[in-house]
């Protein structure tokens, strides 16, 4: 059984790879390569999998999940320039793909008990999303 919780944060980023030329960066990332940055209202769906606890009837206490997401993701990401203020984006391009992977890495170690992290889905706009389920 899977239960998911939605949280949101706003942040800015610059999509440019140090391993590509300026022309290549502009071709690959389009307007997202603007060196001055731009931002999004990101929406994150975090899904955890497990069996409900026979006593509480819950896979995971959602208050606890909310605390983990506040502490490990929102406090780190919200209203930040990801490239400058959030590791590993000083060296890794903060694409939607890499953001989903980083959120997974930050959250997964803290999900315990009956539950395990099942999927992290991040929406950059209502039209574009990425889902990561860990190393499969």
């Amino acid at each position: 059984m899977v239960i998911s919780k939605r949280v949101e944060f706003s942040a800015s980023h610059i999509c440019r790879s140090a391993q590509l030329t300026d022309a290549e960066n502009e071709r690959v990332y389009g307007p997202a390569a603007n060196p001055l940055g731009h931002g999004h209202n990101y929406v994150v769906d975090v899904a955890v999998e497990g069996d409900p606890d026979p006593v509480t009837g819950m896979i995971l206490d959602l208050k606890r999940l909310r605390e983990i997401l506040e502490d490990k993701v929102l406090n780190v990401y919200d209203h930040r320039l990801l490239n400058r203020e959030v590791e590993p984006f000083d060296t890794v391009v903060p694409t939607l793909e890499n953001i989903a992977i980083d959120i997974w890495n930050r959250v997964a170690p803290h999900i315990g008990g009956h539950a395990r992290l099942y999927a992290v889905k991040v929406y950059e706009t209502s039209e574009l999303s990425v889902e990561y389920q860990g190393e499969i």
């Binding site: 999509c15 790879s17 391993q19 590509l20 690959v28 990332y29 389009g30 890794v92 391009v93 903060p94 694409t95 939607l96 793909e97 890499n98 989903a100 992977i101 209502s126 039209e127 574009l128 999303s129 990425v130 889902e131 990561y132 389920q133 190393e135 499969i136």
Partner: protein, 156 residues
């Protein structure tokens, strides 16, 4: 690192649900209001889900500019502001239900996928088509194979 990316596109089109294999009465019973002889339209949404590995240099699973071009060429430009029954050849012989429209989008994308994303690139995992918020059809890569097998049967 395997990851999925979903991108949503929209187009508006008209259609009429009417099967020549059914009587007029049966068509009215089967399709209800959608059988109106004059047709009607929807704002369709098509969500494409691709699966692949993240390129270590770009941090991307798919070149979105290429995906956008493929979507534009294969179903947005051909279907946008069209009467699907009259103007899309596939729907002269099949009924343009959400299911068949999804299968047609899926078929068009798959036929041209390898030209744009050669082997080793991202694969098309799912086509999800929304006729209205309450009427949604999903075609996964697995279902696609099942449909192809079913279609092959009559010929064999």
């Amino acid at each position: 690192m395997t990851i999925r990316l979903s991108k949503r596109y929209g187009f508006a089109a008209s259609h009429r649900l009417h099967s020549p294999a059914l009587t007029d009465e049966e068509n009215r019973e089967t399709y209800g209001k959608c059988n109106n002889p004059h047709g009607h339209g929807h704002n369709y949404e098509v969500e494409l889900t691709v699966r692949g590995t993240v390129d270590p240099v770009t941090g991307l699973v798919v070149d979105l500019a290429l995906l956008d071009i493929l979507a534009e060429q294969q179903f947005l430009a051909p279907f946008r502001y069209r009467n699907l029954n009259e103007e899309v050849p596939a729907f002269r012989t099949t009924v343009p239900t959400t299911e068949n429209l999804g299968l047609e989008v899926d078929r068009r994308l798959r036929e041209n996928w390898l030209n744009v994303f050669p082997n080793g690139g991202p694969c098309l995992e799912m086509v999800r088509i929304r006729e209205t918020d309450r009427n949604i059809c999903e075609i996964s890569a697995k279902a696609e194979k099942a449909v192809l097998r079913a279609e092959e049967k009559p010929g064999t």
